[in-house]
Symmetry: C2
Subunit: 148 residues, 2 copies
Amino acid sequence: MIEWFDDLALGMRFKTADKLVTREDIKRFASEFDPQPYHIDETAAERTPLKGLAASGWHTAAIAMRLIVDARPLGPHPLLGAGVDDLRWFAPVRPGDVIHLEGEVIELTPSKTKPQGIARIKWTAFNQHGDPVYTVTPIGLVPRRPSG
Amino acid sequence: MIEWFDDLALGMRFKTADKLVTREDIKRFASEFDPQPYHIDETAAERTPLKGLAASGWHTAAIAMRLIVDARPLGPHPLLGAGVDDLRWFAPVRPGDVIHLEGEVIELTPSKTKPQGIARIKWTAFNQHGDPVYTVTPIGLVPRRPSG
């Protein structure tokens, strides 16, 4: 089982479960955090560059976090990040879309001073058509296996 | 009033309103999107590197989006982004914290092919003590002023 920084290897891959994104989910999140026409009003959304209702990008990011947490890529350890790089939204997430993520370990840097390392897993979210809709590469802080 | 890409200038600054982040907000968001001990369980959170309950970083990001949307930095135009760079969480956001953001235009790149430009506004969120807790630099797509 993958549990510690020492258990990770470059090229290692992960896959999350699926998540259905509903119209109600999209409007509820957006009403609280991103109340713009793309995300709360079908008619107004038709006249925007997104050409129809779509999830807030921050909603997609939050759904991705939940799927990654549930996939437990580090076994029993919770995930802790200092930030993320290369966050991009490639395509709208529509009502009824089913999203999952796939991840690949692209960089592993042990700390020189602390019993931990920085693991970079590049995650990409795909919809049910196989189209990439979102990517993010967190700066993950992962403890090293205790010695002895 | 700032409305079009052409109205923006390097160094221009923005400031949002304040937002109180409650214990209930933190637990509700985390229960749906980031159910880890840092964000849902005071006792367990004490034993983590965050040393107490703190908002999910994605919750902070979503609150920041709402504050920026409400600040209407582009007047009547909705905000549209292809992604963000340099997203970092500097310090925990605690129950009872009051957050606001300040933004500065750091890069303006007109499109050579479309009537729009890419505006990069570096946003930083501060708590009520003046400590920076979060920063993000969206890749904002902003329409140019129609000619004629």
